[in-house]
Each structure stands twice: as structure tokens, then as C-alpha cells.
Symmetry: C2
Subunit: 467 residues, 2 copies
């Protein structure tokens, strides 16, 4: 399938240049008011050709204050007790501000936290259920808790000491770290990357409330133009007249096995009668563990893959998903899927061991490789989403390209794991022809060359990873 | 309220003598066929005065084979691969056989196991959701897995080497012990009683399937007559013309604070307009940890409490709940509530830290004392159940009896914890008058006197416990 996209596409057309002007968008995106679309679909049950899946809770949450209010909100923030946000905290503010976690309107209060931990879902006031599997919480320490006093709001500050947001109607409750970790990861073994980074040394209290974010979150890292919000993505899909949107979550370089899967999914959707299925290639952009390939290298690699025509830019939207990574397997894959409903996707591709990793202290994978897709297919609040389980792709030596594994002739196939791929690139060796487009491969080699060896002379060793 | 029940009741009338003739049942219980009652309520929506809450899934599951089939099923069992049941396994067979876990029809297959771990609930084929928070699973080891071969069924044998049940259409899947423990208890700390007893040394595989139980499970311990099945309880409530059933789960001796709560609940239900609310006092009869008071002593104590008129036998049904105890706090309290729906209860009393215990390795309670009732009130599949949160009862020194705590005069109240109660009984000391009826207290003292000191000369030390 990789060979299908024959025409060489000009790089400048492949990625959105700004949130508004986008890939080959000849006509400006049609900005249907969200409420209109929701009403049409829910209450009148009219099938609109471009009607996207409704966001969770019926309305996409957006928490960024109107531009006219920025000045006054900024001044208000300066007068409030201050919480300094960590890098990951800020990523969650970003996620919340754009409605990826709709219908959440801010950091979780205890009721939402407990429902997330115990049920991976939230029951809304109308009795309906939405999925919510990872706690989106903000930790504070005893000192700060005491400093808040009677204030019903606090200000959230960035690392540059500028106000980012106001948290209103706050609720402070205990941070049961051990329980949070056990119920989210299914283990409390030491060495879980997100736990080490964001929980172990965090405060003993959690603070929930409704967010007012003063202005859109930007990172000024050259990649902000690739960070489309769910509303922007929905506009893009609408402007392209998408009648199906299928999302592919990844935190790794794209090889031709991934590409095969994505193009084959489009083919299957066309066979099902859809006229214009659009792929949302949505690499995760928040915190990842030290031995994952960093975001800007991955984006560079994705760009090459598209330039080489491995994926068709006419039917592909590449955009960064701002969430940090938990590596919480079957629990986290639900979050990855749910967030993409809010971005307009009604199909979700799920692979082997999604969001999984090696057990931090035992010689085995942390999760059963099949649990992710099983749990996803049964998850409360995701009934509306069509789950597309991954077929296994491997390198077919007889064809010299990635193909779906044919169990009748196993001897013809070569499985190239994430570990093997990374080791090859680290050692500047080449994978077999047809595994990845050469320009994409070169990005990986370049990345590993750029790494400064650690004090012991070793380069951090990549681990086995899944898509 | 304890003083309300003034008349002295003949002991023989207080407890059911057999599953059929029961407390003061002058007329024989009316045996409405379950299907008829369900049909009337679900499909025709006619409010019947004695219509009890529907079991989960609409129909009470009963897995005991017809008497005429016992011989042939027994012979069939003898021809199948054999699993020897542990004491706890047998208790689960008992639970399943009588439909406490309706709509489960046997030990969980992987789909049910995963939904239980991740969502504390099961989605049924019609899209409805029932609560299911603790895994009801059967572990086997590698050897036995290999011995099963191609057989689609296995036989379950008791410790006396007699066949207990057949498990049909079996499914064998991995037993992810660490993940099961972490997601069920919210900790993997060593020293969790159920884990030590039933998981740590259990096999690496789980076997699910549909149960056919050859005959009703009996323990021949003198207490079988107190073990009423959900169907028998429903018949009893119907025969008493109950228009509300409120369940009280406990694994501890009943003191006058508990009794106050139960009698006050009845008063509240009468005020709400119910004519005949019946209390299901349903002590847990399965596995409990070593320092809990054993079942037969507790039943003895409950008998004394009823004989002394602390609870009104006219409106109380005492029966044993056959489940083993997990001590899994907010996760387990859902199971305790859900099982009582199946037994006909539509009100459930929940206290402070239900199913909680001390953290096995840290100096704190394992669970936040309020999480149990919060989680219970939000749990999927329990929306039909009315949750009645506990009011705090304490010893009112001015009245010389247990009373609801009055925060305006805290100095008048004495809190007697489970630990303190047990320490007093162990030391043959008396609690303040009015804490527990003297004959009930004497049972406790007698129990501790009966304990043979351990090798180190110490009697196992009671821990702080909740109702």
C-alpha cells in the first residue's frame, strides 16, 4: 500500500501552516457552530453528510477566556494565591483548555477522581456516562494548602512566572498516591516513568476546580503550528467533507507497517460505503519517557514519511495531541480513544499492547498484549466509537515490503520490534528495504547520532515499545 | 431506640428453623414464582404491593441442577478432569449457585474479569449495566491446565473428594495476580489477608465457565439453617408483605449503636410512607481474617441481641451471606450492596470505612473512611439501590446509652472503636452500660476466653474494624 501514494508532494503542503490555513484547504474551513451541529444530530436525527461524532457530554468544552477579558483575568490572577505548574501540569492545562477531556471543565474534584479510579468513567447529571480513565489532577503540598486560606480560587503560574489560568470553586482533597498508582497502572512497582516524574514527589493534596485559561497554551518550540485543538480539527474535517474520521495514536516513528495499516483502514472504510474517510495521525506531544524518541524528531520523521508519499496528504491530517503519556496500557488507551472522539474521530485504530511498556522490575511486559484492545472494546462511554483492531504487519521477505502477516507462510516474514528498530538506527545500520522510507530512517539515525553519551559512555538504551 | 423493643421474645422464634418455616411466620410463605414476579414488574409495569426490586439482569440466577439430574451429573463429574476446591473456592461456588452474583452463571471468563477489574461493572447483551466489583474467579496451576487437554468441561471437587459441580464451556486465561491485586485493593502491600489466603499461592491461570452445581452447598456446622438463598429471602420478604427491604452487612458483633441505626432506619422508612420495611441483618459467613470474631460466635451474639429485644424479630430477618471477605474497602462495598439487591433489598445501609482495615504495612487505615460511601453512591449498576449513609453513633454518657452523636456537645460522647470493644472483651472487662446487651457481651467474653494463646503466649490482637 505504501507504493499507492505515487505522486511526490511538496513538503509545504503536508502540514498545517497555522491552525486555520491547512493542508491543501482550497476553500476556507466551514465553521459550523458546534451547538447547531449537536442539535441537528441529537434532537432531529437528520443525517448530515459532514456531521461529526458529538463530543462527550454533547458540547465541546473550551476553557480559554475571551480575548477582551485577558487583561482583567491576568490582573485577577496576580492577586490570588499562586500554584507554580510543572511541565506536566501545564500539559494538562493545555489538554483541558481545548476540551480533549470534555466534559471536564478543569482539574478533577474528588467525585470525578474517584469515579475515574474505580469506574474509568463519569456519570453526568442527565444519567449518561462518558469515559474517563486517567486522573487529570493537580497536586499541592501542605504548605500551599495552608497558604490558600479561605480563597475560593487560585492562580496557576507557568515556569516563566506569568499567570496561565485561574482555578475557580476549588475543592481540596487527599492525594492517595499509592491507591492512585495501583488503580491506574495495576502495579505499584518502582520505576513507572510518569509516577517517578509526576506523582512520587508531588504534594499530598489534590486541588480541583473550574479552569479559566488566560490565553491559548503555546510552547514556542517551532511545533505550535502542528498543535490543532479539537475545535480546529473538527473544522478541518468539516472543510474536507469527511464522512468518517479514523484516528491513529502514536508516540513512535511511523514505519511502513503503520502506514499499511492506515491506508488499509481507509480502504476498508471506503468498502463500507464511506465516501471520504480522513485519517487523523495524532502523535502524542506531552511528556514521554527518556528513551522514547523526542517529539521534534518524531515530527521531522512523520514529515519525511508524508513527503515520500507513504501516506496520502489529501486524506491525512497530522496534528499533535498535547497529552502527557502515562504508559498505563489498557487504562490509558481508553483516554487516548476518548480524547479523539472529542476531536471528531468516530473510528479508532488499536494495536498490540497499546500504551504498554516493559514491567519496570520484572522481565516481562507490564500488560497482556491483548488486554488493551479488549478493555477498549468494552469500556463504558466508548460505545459510540468504532474500534478497529490492528492486524499484525511484518516484513514480507518475498515482496520486500511490509505486509499483513500470513500465518500460512510464517517463514517468509520478519518481525522488527520497536527495540530492534531503535537498535539498528542507533548503530547506523539499515533496516531491510521497504521497512521505512529512507528519508524517514535517516531522521532516526540523525537523532541517535545527536545524543550525547551519558557519563558512563552509554547512550540510553531504547526499550521495546508499541505504537 | 434499643429500649423500644420491650417485649421479651421467645428465642425459638427469632431465627429461621429451616429455610421454609421462619421467624413467627404464622402463614406459610407465599411462593410466587420468580419469573411471574419479574414479568409483572418489568413488562407490565404494574406496581404490586409486595413487588421486590428486580435481581440484576432481570432474573435471579440459580445454578443447582434439578434433583432428578443429580445422579447423572454426579456420574458425569466423576468422568471429567478434576479441580479440588479450596475452602474459599467452595464459598464462591455457593455464592454463584444461589444467584447472589446474578447475572453471573459461573466463574468469570476473561471478558467479565477484565470488566470487573477496570470498570467494576458488566455490560449485558441488551446494553444494560450491572455492578460487579470483585473478581469471582477460579485459579488453576500449569499442571492442571495441561491435564485438561481438549475437554470443554471440568469437575469441581470438595475437600471430601466428592463432586460439587461441573464447569461447562470453559475458558482458560492468564491470572495476572499483581494487576488483580492492585486494581482490586488499590495496593500491593504484602499482608492483605485475602491475597495471602487465596491469591499469592494460587495457580497462574484462571478458568471460567458456566456452573452446574450438583446439590445445594451445605457446611454441616450447625448454621446451615441460617443460610437462606436470595430466592428464599425473597420468598420470606414477600410472605411478610415487605414493601421495603433494608440490608445491613456486617462481620462484627452487633452493638447498640448498630441497633440504633437499624431501628432508626426503619423509623425513617415509615416516615417516608412505607408500611412495612423489613431489615435484612445479613452477617458475612465466608472467609474472614484470623483476628475477626468467627461466624458461629457472631451468630450466637446476634441471637442474644435479638432475644434481648434490641432488634424487633417481627421486622428483622437474620441470615448468613455466604461470601468470603476481601477487605477491599470501596471496591468490596459495591459487591456487598449488589449481592443484596439480588436478595431483594432496595435500601442499603453504609457506614464509615465499609470493608476497610488497617494498612498492612503502614500506620494508617488502608482506605479513606469516606470513600466507601462516596464510591457506592456513584457506582455503575447500583442506581436502583437507595444508599443510606450511616449516622455516627456513640455512647452518650448523659443518657447512658448509644445515641447519634450531637456535635454541639462532644464532651458527652464516648467513641468505642472495634479495637477497644475487642480489647475490653479480651480482658473480661465490661463496656459502659447500654453499649451492648449483657448477654451479647458475655458471648464475646466467652469467645476470647476460648482462644488458646499462640506459642508466644499471646492471643491474636484484634484490629480496628468497621461494620
Amino acid at each position: 500500500m505504501a507504493s499507492m501514494a505515487a505522486a511526490f508532494i511538496k513538503p509545504s503542503n503536508l502540514f498545517p501552516q497555522s491552525p486555520i490555513t491547512f493542508t491543501k484547504a482550497v476553500t476556507p474551513p466551514i465553521m459550523l457552530p458546534m451547538s447547531l451541529r449537536v442539535k441537528t444530530k441529537t434532537h432531529r436525527r437528520i443525517r448530515v453528510s459532514c456531521g461529526l461524532i458529538d463530543p462527550d457530554g454533547g458540547k465541546l468544552v473550551e476553557l480559554i477566556v475571551e480575548e477582551s477579558m485577558r487583561g482583567s483575568k491576568n490582573r485577577e490572577a496576580l492577586s490570588l494565591p499562586r500554584i507554580k505548574l510543572s511541565r506536566i501540569d501545564l500539559q494538562w492545562v493545555h489538554v483541558l483548555s481545548e476540551g480533549w477531556a470534555s466534559p471536564l471543565t478543569g482539574f478533577m474534584r474528588e467525585s470525578e477522581f474517584l469515579q475515574t479510579l474505580h469506574f474509568n468513567s463519569l456519570r453526568l447529571q442527565d444519567g449518561s456516562v462518558v469515559n474517563m480513565s486517567v486522573p487529570i489532577v493537580l497536586a499541592i503540598d501542605d504548605d500551599f494548602k495552608n497558604r490558600i486560606g479561605d480563597s475560593s480560587k487560585v492562580a496557576l503560574f507557568g515556569s516563566d512566572d506569568r499567570p496561565v489560568a485561574i482555578l475557580n470553586d476549588i475543592e481540596i482533597y487527599k492525594h492517595p498516591k499509592e491507591e492512585r498508582i495501583a488503580r491506574t497502572w495495576g502495579t505499584t512497582a518502582s520505576g513507572l516513568p510518569y509516577v517517578d516524574e509526576a506523582i512520587k514527589n508531588a504534594g499530598n493534596w489534590l486541588i480541583g476546580g473550574d479552569l479559566e485559561v488566560i490565553e491559548p497554551i503555546k510552547y514556542h518550540d517551532g511545533l505550535d503550528r502542528f498543535r490543532l485543538s479539537p475545535a480546529q480539527l473538527r473544522n478541518e474535517f468539516t472543510s474536507r467533507n469527511a464522512d468518517a474520521v479514523f484516528a491513529f495514536q502514536l508516540r513512535n516513528p511511523v514505519h511502513n507497517g503503520h502506514a499499511l495499516l492506515m491506508t488499509d483502514t481507509r480502504r476498508r472504510l471506503l468498502n463500507m460505503g464511506y465516501n471520504n474517510p480522513i485519517l487523523l495521525l495524532n502523535p502524542l506531544g506531552g511528556y514521554t519517557k527518556a528513551d522514547d524518541v523526542p517529539l521534534h524528531w518524531r515530527i521531522k520523521q512523520h514529515q519525511k514519511v508524508l513527503e515520500d508519499g507513504v501516506l496520502d496528504p489529501e486524506t491525512t491530517v497530522v496534528s499533535i495531541f498535547p497529552s502527557p503519556m502515562h504508559y498505563a496500557g489498557p487504562t490509558e488507551v481508553q483516554w487516548h480513544a476518548k480524547a479523539r472522539i472529542n476531536a471528531g474521530a468516530n473510528f479508532y485504530i488499536v494495536g498490540r499492547d497499546p500504551a504498554g511498556m516493559g514491567h519496570p522490575t520484572e522481565k516481562r511486559d507490564l500488560y497482556d498484549a491483548d488486554h488493551g484492545k479488549k478493555v477498549l472494546s468494552m469500556a463504558p462511554g466508548l460505545e459510540r466509537l468504532n474500534i478497529l483492531p490492528f492486524k499484525v504487519a511484518a516484513y514480507d521477505k518475498t515482496q520486500g515490503k511490509m505486509a499483513f502477516f500470513d500465518p500460512s507462510r510464517p517463514q517468509d516474514f520478519l518481525f522488527i520490534s520497536g527495540t530492534k528498530m531503535r537498535n539498528l538506527a542507533r548503530n547506523k545500520e539499515n533496516p531491510p528495504d521497504g521497512f521505512m522510507c529512507p528519508s524517514g530512517w535517516n531522521v532516526l539515525v540523525e537523532y541517535y547520532k545527536s545524543l550525547v553519551p551519558a557519563e558512563n559512555g552509554r547512550i540510553p538504551k531504547p526499550e521495546a515499545v508499541a505504537a
